[in-house]
């Protein structure tokens, strides 16, 4: 007889199967990549309301603002994620990334170092290390000039 995997339920404002939450968030990211930002916002915001204790939908919202170049709003969402889960290394690393794009390098480095301390062996630490490496090689200096010139047009 085939084994049926036990469904993990997330207890938010209603009981929600984990699979469905994952599906919704992945759909939101796909829609975001299609540049349908309003639709992506509705999905992420809906999931954030459904699971009020999770940091992940807030990080997704932060990424959505970041993709639109709204850096201040992105930082607000990542900070909301940190309020929900103070141990969220990913939210901390995302703050560092946004700060680099805002040319706030010393603050960004501090945020990323904190993220590495939170989860030194995880995937987030790898992400933070790559960001630090890119910053060392002045990757974000040139990127900011390009972004500014694009906005100017």
């Amino acid at each position: 007889m085939a084994k049926v995997a036990k469904q993990i339920m997330i207890s938010g404002i209603i009981e929600l199967p984990q699979e469905e939450a994952v599906l919704l968030l992945e759909a939101g990211y796909l829609v975001m990549q299609m540049k349908k930002y309003q639709d992506a916002f509705l999905i992420f915001n809906g999931v954030a309301d459904l699971i009020p204790h999770s940091d992940v939908p807030c990080i997704a919202l932060g990424n959505l603002y970041f993709a639109q170049g709204k850096f201040d709003e992105a930082i607000k969402e990542h900070k909301r994620a940190l309020k929900r889960n103070p141990n969220s290394a990913l939210a901390q690393a995302q703050i560092g990334e946004v700060l680099f794009f805002q040319q706030k390098f010393s603050e960004g480095i501090a945020a990323l170092k904190k993220a590495i301390e939170m989860d030194p062996k995880g995937l987030t630490a790898k992400f933070a290390n790559e960001l630090l490496n890119a910053q060392k090689k002045h990757f974000f200096d040139k990127l900011s000039v390009q972004t500014k010139s694009k906005r100017g047009k």
Partner: protein
């Protein structure tokens, strides 16, 4: 009657000229030199045509084509050239081989410099691309991990 400078070597028809000094004798028959010049002129003309055809594709080919064209015209009209210089003009207006050669060298040098610049630029772009690629990959992995472990 036998010539005083020519020695007969035995019974055969082989004769050796033993005159060490005296005047240099030149052949009055110029057919060979004319033919040679003609052939060289034609081949230079042909090479000039080939290089001019390749000029848009090969760096420096346009200069080479001009030089070969000059050489072909010099060989075709030897009265314009100085004797002993193989038919190439040294001075005068129009095509100037040495000047063209120097020009070609200068062009090649500047092209090499340009090439080095382009290579450096390409290397920088490649480095930037690698950095961006690594950042995006690790970000994607971290986010995917966070989503699949949502509780």
């Amino acid at each position: 009657m036998s010539h005083p400078d020519i020695v007969n070597l035995g019974q055969g028809s082989i004769k050796l000229n033993v005159n060490a000094g005296g005047t240099i004798k030149t052949s009055s028959n110029l057919d060979f030199s004319t033919q040679l010049r003609k052939v060289m002129s034609q081949s230079a003309h042909l090479a000039s045509k080939a290089t001019s055809a390749a000029a848009p594709l090969v760096p420096g080919a346009s200069v080479m084509s001009a030089v070969l064209s000059d050489a072909a015209s010099s060989l075709a009209y030897p009265e314009n050239s100085i004797a002993g210089m193989g038919g190439f003009k040294i001075t005068g207006s129009g095509g100037n081989f040495l000047q063209s050669f120097e020009e070609m060298q200068q062009n090649m040098m500047s092209m090499n410099m340009q090439m080095i610049g382009v290579q450096r630029q390409f290397q920088q772009m490649s480095e930037q691309y690698t950095l961006a690629s690594n950042v995006l990959k690790t970000k994607h992995d971290a986010e995917k991990n966070a989503i699949s472990n949502i509780r």
